[in-house]
Each structure stands twice: as structure tokens, then as C-alpha cells.
């Protein structure tokens, strides 16, 4: 991993710092938040930033800083789970599909195309309205929507790896499909998968927030970035930080993911890996 990180440029470092910062704050939120993020205090409603409340309070007197700090927990958790599952499943299937080819490839890719052709948000809304908006449902929904996309990307990369000589060598030795996919192909699309993970995660976190914003994600009074924006955006001029705080946090995380993905892509030469020129 060390070798992977070297030479990815300063933007990459900034990206990693932004991601780790957000993740760390989200993890530590229960301990470092000055207030309970859901505890309302009518006496302290709608205060501007002050020593007691750095970012002020919202209409129920809840501390905006505490809500912002805790607001990433849900989104990051869902993003982590959903992206990990989707990318893992997509990577495995993508490699398998690429390696096996033939009718299996045709059938899987046809379904993949069909799922991809339905707009993400519609597919997501359908799943959420079918099963409610619990966290695992959202995770499942994102996995359903994004796994096909990952399959497609990884399949593309794996197809070029598949034709490389070391895979041919393995075939000539008489290795079976499982070991070839796991030992030969998968490790060599890991660059693509890694970059894909970062990109995908950035979309997932935005998607989660959008869902929350539309009222399908986290439920009030839970602190959640998207939800906070939905709750407070009309009152942007009265409680600016209740909207800007979560958005700044969200944007910094997404920027972090983009920079990381750029850096990784640059360092790993992912585009070349795809075409097998590498």
C-alpha cells in the first residue's frame, strides 16, 4: 500500500486527509460533540454562533455543531456498507463474467443494462417505497442500483486482463475458473476497483444525502446531513450553519473522495490498466 500511495501527488494527500478527517469526526462524534444532537432546548432556540454553541442552534434549540458532527454517521455508515458490498459483489461478478464470457456474460450483462437503464433515483425510490426507509433497506437499494455499474466497469477491466499472458499461463497449467478469477484476474483489476470504490463512494454519499433530503433516508430527529439541509434550507438566512455546516462537511468528504480517486487513478495508471496497455 505504501508503494501505492507514493507519487500520487499532494491532491491525493489532501483527499486522504479530508476522508480520514470526516470518518474520524463521525466515529468520535458521540464523544466530542458538546451536546446531545437530538436534545432540544426551547430556551436556546435559533441562536447565532457563540462560545456555547459554535455554530448556533436550530429551531428546537439543538446544537448545530453536534448535529453536524453526528450528521455524517448515518451517511458514512451507509456509504461504507453499500459501497463495500456493491464494489465487492460487482468486482467478483465482473471478473467472473469477463472470464467465463459466453451466454453467462450475455445474460448477466443484459440484466445489468436493464437495471442501469432505469434512473438511479427512480430505482432507489422504488426499492425504498417497497421496503421502507430503514438503513439496511437503503444499503440494499444502493447495492441493487450500483452493483451493475461496478460489474460493467470491472468486467471491462477484467476483459483486458483476461487476455494477458499470465492468465493464459494459468489456463495452460489447467487452473480452474475460481482460482484464476481470484488469484490472477482480481488482484490485477484491484487498481480499477480501488479507484471505482472512491468514485462510487462519492456518488453514494451524495445519493444518500439526496434521499434524506427528499425524505426517504434518515428519519427525524436523527441528525443527518441531507435531512438537516431539508429541514433548514428555507431558514438559510436565520440559521445559516444548520444548512452550511452539513453541506460543508458533505462536500469536503466528497471532494476528498474525488481527490483520492484522481490521485489513485494517476498513481496507478488506471486508464491504461483498462485497455491492457499497461
Amino acid at each position: 500500500m505504501k508503494a501505492t500511495l507514493r507519487g500520487a501527488g499532494p491532491a491525493f494527500t489532501i483527499g486522504i486527509v479530508l476522508i480520514l478527517g470526516n470518518v474520524l469526526l463521525a466515529l468520535l462524534a458521540p464523544w466530542i460533540s458538546p451536546y446531545d444532537p437530538v436534545a432540544s432546548d426551547s430556551a436556546a432556540a435559533l441562536q447565532g454562533p457563540s462560545g456555547a454553541h459554535w455554530l448556533g442552534t436550530d429551531m428546537y434549540g439543538r446544537d448545530i455543531l453536534s448535529r453536524t458532527l453526528n450528521g455524517g454517521r448515518y451517511a458514512l455508515q451507509v456509504t461504507f456498507l453499500a459501497t463495500t458490498i456493491a464494489v465487492a459483489a460487482g468486482a467478483l461478478l465482473g471478473c467472473l463474467v469477463a472470464y467465463l464470457g459466453g451466454w453467462f456474460d450475455d445474460v448477466v450483462m443484459r440484466v445489468v443494462d436493464a437495471i442501469l437503464s432505469v434512473p438511479t433515483i427512480l430505482a432507489l425510490l422504488v426499492v425504498v417505497s417497497v421496503l421502507g426507509s430503514g438503513m439496511w433497506v437503503i444499503v440494499l437499494a444502493v447495492v441493487v442500483v450500483y452493483t451493475p455499474a461496478v460489474i460493467r466497469v470491472v468486467r471491462g477491466a477484467a476483459r483486458s486482463v483476461k487476455s494477458l499472458d499470465y492468465v493464459t499461463a494459468a489456463k495452460a497449467r489447467g487452473e480452474r475458473a475460481g482460482p484464476i478469477v481470484v488469484r490472477e484476474i482480481l488482484p490485477n483489476v484491484s487498481d480499477v476497483v480501488l479507484v471505482e470504490y472512491a468514485m462510487r463512494a462519492s456518488w453514494v454519499v451524495l445519493l444518500i444525502s439526496t434521499l434524506s433530503f427528499l425524505g426517504f433516508g434518515a428519519n427525524p430527529p436523527a441528525p443527518d446531513w441531507g435531512l438537516m439541509v431539508a429541514e433548514n434550507r428555507t431558514a438559510l438566512t436565520v440559521v445559516p450553519w444548520a444548512t452550511l455546516g452539513p453541506v460543508a462537511a458533505l462536500a469536503s468528504f466528497v471532494i476528498g473522495l474525488h481527490l483520492t480517486s484522481d490521485g489513485l487513478g494517476k498513481r496507478l495508471g488506471v486508464d491504461r490498466a483498462m485497455t491492457g496497455v499497461k
Binding site: 437503464s117 476483459r159 468514485m199 434550507r233 438559510l236 483498462m274 485497455t275
Partner: protein, 341 residues
């Protein structure tokens, strides 16, 4: 080549049908009682019972799908469970309104982003590149709902240049809607342009370092000719995919923007339909969206064929960009394979 196009058309239709089936099956699992949902909290049990029988919700799922499919083939998308009106005309109206946002968005963002992307690519590492990259990075990272909220605050509430929301219903005339489209167009253009800029920049850089551009330069051609005639057709190939995917994304993803601006487009219709569990409407929207997605990809394929003669001879040119060797410029796929919130 006509055979090639025909083949793609065939697989496109298959994709759309499959997509409609998937959506149909998914919606069948809805636990909430559609009728209860439609009639609302104050509905009497008698009214609920009557509506259930009227809608014939007891027919088996698969039969209903087949019936629907045959109807759809004849342009009949069924009747809305909620309004009792045919889905088709209403959807068409909303679709028209969304197009009113979508078309300017596509024109503006594609033009702007190709120009900016190429400039950034040519000026790689220079000031212009840095500013363009920074702006597109921000545009990608700040959620649309925030951008929309800020724009409304600034240009509708603060300085009343544009309407904050659309008050007219879906039947509004184009002239009535026209003043309202600009803020949505700006929001969508920003998000869309960001991705295209990045892609164009990357592929421009790729192409500009390729051997045939060096050859063209060393032939003593003017810079402008090298860029316009030699580099652009190839550099735009990967950009095409991104544009296609973005157009499709936009038609689905206008949900947020239409919601915020109360714009009577397909996105709002979609939200409303999902809220009401209006199965025929959701189904119709899904199919229309799938058709647009497939059509955009088809169009991108055809444009690619026009731009790059090599594309005309590959039987399975697009099945994941990885299968697209192209010139040296085959971009980072994850950027191409964008499907966004």
C-alpha cells in the same frame, strides 16, 4: 453497417422490456395498500373496498404485466390509479416540460464543458486548468439541492430576477414556463458540466500526447488545426459516453431540482407517483426513462461512428468501455460509467 445499427436497436428494445419487467416486479412487492394511500387517512372502509374492486387489483401479477406490455406497445400506458386518467397524455405533458429544462441544459453544459474541458486539457497544469478543475470539483461535490437552494435565495428571494417556484401546473404553456426554467437549467448544467469537463480534459490530455498528434504537429500544422481536426474527433469519443450517461441521469435526476422549484416535469411526477404508489405511472416513467437512456447510448454510438471510422466496424463496440480499445485515449472508466444521484 445498417445491420450493426439494427442489431443495436434490437438489443435496445430488449433492454427496455427487461427494465420494465424488473420495475413491474419490484413494485408488486409494495406493502402499503395503494388504495388506502390514494384515498388518504380519512377514507372510509367502504370507499376503499369499492375502489379496490374498481381497479381490479386482484388480477395475477404476471397477467397484469403482459396486459400492460401489450397496451404499452400500442401507446396505452394504462390508467393512473390515482386520477383515473390515462397515463400517456399526462406523462407526455410532464415529459415535454422536462424537455424544456433538459434541452437548454444539454446544449449549455455540453458546449460549455467541451470548450472548458479542451482548454483545461490543452493548458494542463496552467492557471486556466487549475481554475477549471477546481470549479468542476466543487460543482461535483456540492449537492444539487444546496446549489438550488442558494440560487433561489440569491436570484428569486434576494434579487427577484427569476421565479422561485413554478406555480402553473403541467398544462402551462411554454411561454408561461420559460421564465422558470433558468434556475433549474443552471443547477443541472453545473452538475452535468463538471463531469463532462473532467472527461474532456482527461481525454484531451490523452489524445494530445498520442503519437498521431505529435506527427500532426511535426508536419508543421497550425495549432488550431491540430486541435480541431486531428485531436477533437478522437478526444470527444469518451466524452460522448459521459454526455449520453449524463443526459439519461439528468432526466432521472431532475427529481431534486423539480421538487425544489415545483417544476411540473417528469421528476415531480415520479416523486408524486412513488408517494402515491401509482403503479402505472411509475411503470411508464421507468420505461420512458429506460428508453431515453438506451436512446442516448445509441445516439452516442452513432455519433462515435460518425467521429471515428474505426467504430463503424466493431460488432460489439460498447459493452463497457473496457471493450473499447479506441485510440490510446481510453479514459478512466469510472469517470465514464457515471450514474449519479
Amino acid at each position: 453497417m445498417p445491420l450493426l445499427i439494427l442489431r443495436r436497436l434490437g438489443s435496445a428494445v430488449l433492454t427496455i422490456v427487461l427494465a420494465s419487467l424488473l420495475v413491474f416486479l419490484a413494485i408488486q412487492a409494495l406493502p402499503g395498500d395503494v388504495v388506502q394511500q390514494i384515498l388518504g387517512r380519512d377514507a372510509t372502509p367502504e370507499a376503499v373496498a369499492r375502489m379496490r374492486s374498481e381497479l381490479g387489483l386482484d388480477t395475477p401479477v404476471f397477467l397484469r404485466y403482459v396486459q400492460w406490455l401489450f397496451g404499452a406497445l400500442q401507446g396505452d400506458f394504462g390508467t393512473s390509479l390515482v386520477s383515473g386518467e390515462p397515463v400517456g397524455p399526462n406523462l407526455l405533458l410532464h415529459f415535454r416540460n422536462t424537455l424544456l429544462i433538459a434541452v437548454p441544459t444539454v446544449i449549455i453544459s455540453v458546449t460549455l464543458s467541451i470548450v472548458l474541458g479542451v482548454v483545461a486539457g490543452l493548458r494542463r497544469g496552467k492557471w486556466a486548468d487549475h481554475s477549471i478543475s477546481l470549479i468542476s470539483l466543487l460543482a461535483m461535490s456540492i449537492p444539487e439541492f444546496m446549489v438550488a437552494a442558494l440560487l433561489v435565495l440569491a436570484f428569486a428571494v434576494g434579487i427577484p430576477m427569476f421565479p422561485a417556484v413554478v406555480l402553473d401546473g403541467p398544462q402551462a404553456s411554454l411561454a408561461q414556463l420559460l421564465p422558470s426554467i433558468w434556475l433549474p437549467v443552471i443547477v443541472l448544467s453545473l452538475a452535468m458540466a463538471a463531469y463532462i469537463i473532467r472527461m474532456t480534459r482527461t481525454s484531451t490530455i490523452d489524445v494530445m500526447t498520442s503519437e498521431f498528434i505529435t506527427t500532426a504537429e511535426l508536419k508543421g500544422l497550425r495549432r488550431a488545426r491540430v486541435v480541431m481536426r486531428h485531436a477533437l474527433p478522437t478526444a470527444l469519443l469518451p466524452t460522448l459516453n459521459v454526455v449520453a450517461i449524463n443526459i439519461a441521469w439528468m432526466l432521472g435526476g431532475v427529481v431534486v431540482v423539480e421538487n425544489i422549484f415545483n417544476y411540473p416535469g417528469m421528476g415531480n411526477l415520479m416523486l408524486e407517483a412513488v408517494f402515491n404508489r401509482d403503479l402505472p405511472v411509475i411503470e411508464a416513467i421507468a420505461v420512458v426513462s429506460a428508453a431515453i437512456y438506451v436512446a442516448c447510448n445509441l445516439l452516442a454510438d452513432l455519433t462515435a461512428m460518425a467521429l471515428d471510422p474505426r467504430q463503424r466496424f466493431r460488432p460489439r463496440a460498447r459493452r463497457g468501455a473496457g471493450a473499447q480499445p479506441g485510440p490510446k485515449a481510453s479514459p478512466a472508466i469510472s469517470t465514464v460509467e457515471r450514474s449519479q444521484p
